[in-house]
């Protein structure tokens, strides 16, 4: 695991998921989260990623993974075949957000969405002084960022209300601890549990 905030998020996701659940991690990377959930929650997990290195790392760990981009890969999964579909740090890189989320609800019962908060204080200050946000948790500059969606915690609430998705739970994290006071200002990242 790379850093404290990620550890915290992993722990939180593990607390959401019940033992032995069927879990699909979209944009699973090298399989760290899946591995963590296998160890701590004995999940029946699968992953999907676009990177060859990520996928080959997962297969070397014995994980079940599918090499594809999210946009074109979801048709490989049967209806309602997962208890949880995870989009951890993936949503902000996706083009067709609406159709992907709808597909996720076709595949799984609940959706766990982890997104960085572009409304965090440091990002706001950067913008205030005339620069696009580059912070410890949003390390990319405009020319090398994989992120194409820049959303805040409030934005996500508004989105869920618009689409009539139920927010079952929400968790917000500062550097090494949860934050509940003005999360849209102080949290670097968030984890939402949503359903239809």
């Amino acid at each position: 695991m790379k850093n404290k905030i990620e550890q915290l998020a992993y722990k939180t996701i593990a607390s959401i998921i019940f033992d032995g659940a069927k879990v699909l991690d979209l944009g699973c990377g090298a399989g760290d989260l899946l591995d963590y959930l296998c160890t701590h929650k004995n999940i029946n997990g699968q992953g999907l990623d676009i990177s060859q290195d990520a996928i080959s790392n997962c297969i070397q760990k014995g994980l079940s993974v599918f090499h594809s981009d999210i946009e074109n890969g979801l048709d490989a999964y049967p209806d309602q075949s997962f208890d949880f579909v995870i989009l951890f740090n993936s949503l902000q890189e996706i083009k067709n957000v609406d159709s992907i989320i709808e597909q996720c609800f076709r595949i799984g019962k609940k959706l766990i969405v982890g997104v960085p908060n572009f409304g965090q204080l440091h990002s706001r200050l950067k913008l205030l002084f005339g620069y696009s946000p580059v912070t410890k948790h949003l390390p990319y500059t405009w020319f090398n960022s994989p992120n194409i969606r820049f959303l805040t915690i409030k934005d996500f609430y508004v989105y869920c209300a618009m689409r009539r998705y139920k927010i079952l739970d929400a968790f917000f994290f500062a550097l090494d601890k949860p934050v509940n006071f003005l999360p849209n200002l102080f949290a670097y990242t968030s984890v939402f549990v949503i359903s239809k």
Binding site: Q52, S56, Q60, G62, S64, S68
Partner: protein, 363 residues
């Protein structure tokens, strides 16, 4: 034909998809590693179109095999852990019964009287071999290209007899393009006057037709990039010959001639016809897989980016169909410039994937 070192498993009466029967069947096979007491560590390696049972060197044959670096101590198919079996396909010409074998009814080589076979028949014969070794369940069936199609066929026909299948650079069915290339190869053989309707045993063999068929095959096994890297436009003699029929001008021509000529020394033209036909007939679809018979059956599907003969989307679709059925099926597309040949050449990365995949299977 020049190979030795294999063992022969013989049995009678193999009923074929075509409803015909082959009376006496020999299957040539080789093994590596040791079968454990529970007979639970066996892996069947299935060879590609022109391969044979000699996948790697062993006591009987010290020559390098076609998957030499994949089989052995510490390798992808680790002989310290697994018992590896590889057999020459039915219809082949490296020890197993095929069109060049003697027909017991006539005491002459079968030639075209050999019945047309399918990959299902090939796998049926392999199953009899595995039964004869007392193995109830294979840990894995693994192969590339036509070998991978056999892995899929195993999963369709004998799902309870395998714990996993590795499917590399293949498709669920031969596409019109793949059939077309095979047909050009067959027509090349049959247009050679020496082919003589398949009755050439004991006289001059259709070497020209078979060599041309092989040359076409080799083009489809490479990629434009690998050909550029390997040959570019380099000349054999540093100048144009301004001639036909003499020595080849370009290195790529010389390479194809060499590959064609060395192939005719080891391969039977009629086997070429029968095995390519079996590949062309191959088609499995999602409905053919019965999940209930073995819900734990696992698949690993691998493709290579530059393979245009069996493009990655076909391999991805195998995994997609299997996942939709409810199977645990992984898919990885690997970068390589070698084209279809990649599965024979990209050893290190395939070895890593295969080890990771097999490891949880062996308790």
């Amino acid at each position: 034909m020049t190979l030795c070192g294999h063992q022969i498993f013989s049995f009678d009466n193999l009923c074929l998809t075509s409803k015909k029967t082959i009376q006496k069947v020999d299957i040539a096979y080789e093994t590596w590693g040791r079968l454990d007491n529970q007979k639970s560590n066996a892996i069947l390696i299935t060879h590609a179109f022109s391969g044979d049972s000699h996948a790697a060197k062993n006591e009987g044959n010290k020559q390098d095999g076609w998957w030499e670096k994949m089989i052995g101590s510490g390798r992808a198919f680790d002989t310290d852990k697994y018992f590896i079996i590889c057999s020459n396909v039915l219809g082949g010409c490296a020890g197993s019964t095929g069109p060049s074998s003697i027909n017991p009814k006539s005491n002459k080589p079968y030639g075209l009287t050999f019945p047309v076979i399918t990959l299902g028949d090939i796998v049926h014969a392999q199953k009899k071999l595995i039964d004869s070794l007392g193995i109830k369940k294979l840990l894995c069936v693994a192969g590339g290209s036509m070998g991978a199609m056999q892995s899929l066929q195993w999963a369709v026909m004998y799902p309870e007899s395998i714990a996993s299948a590795i499917v590399i650079s293949a498709a669920m069915k031969h596409s019109p393009q793949q059939i077309a290339f095979n047909e050009v190869g067959r027509q090349s053989i049959m247009a050679d006057p020496d082919w003589n309707d398949g009755n050439y045993y004991g006289s001059k063999e259709p070497e020209v037709g078979l060599a041309i068929a092989r040359m076409i095959g080799h083009i489809t096994y490479m990629s434009d990039k690998s050909m550029e890297q390997k040959f570019s436009r380099r000349l054999k003699e540093n100048k144009f010959s301004f001639d036909f029929g003499g020595k080849p001008d370009f290195e790529v021509e010389g390479y194809l001639h060499y590959k064609g000529n060395s192939f005719v020394k080891r391969f039977d033209a009629n086997s070429y016809l029968y095995i390519t036909k079996a590949m062309d007939y191959f088609e499995v679809c999602a409905e053919d897989f019965c999940l209930q018979k073995n819900p734990k059956l696992k698949f690993l599907t691998i493709a290579f980016g530059s393979d245009w003969l069996y493009p990655p989307y076909q391999s991805q679709d195998i995994a997609r169909q299997l996942k939709l059925k409810g199977y645990d099926a992984s898919y990885c597309e690997l970068k390589s410039t070698y084209g279809h040949d990649s599965f024979l050449l990209e050893i290190d990365i395939q070895a890593k994937l295969i080890k990771g995949f097999l490891n949880p299977l062996k308790k």
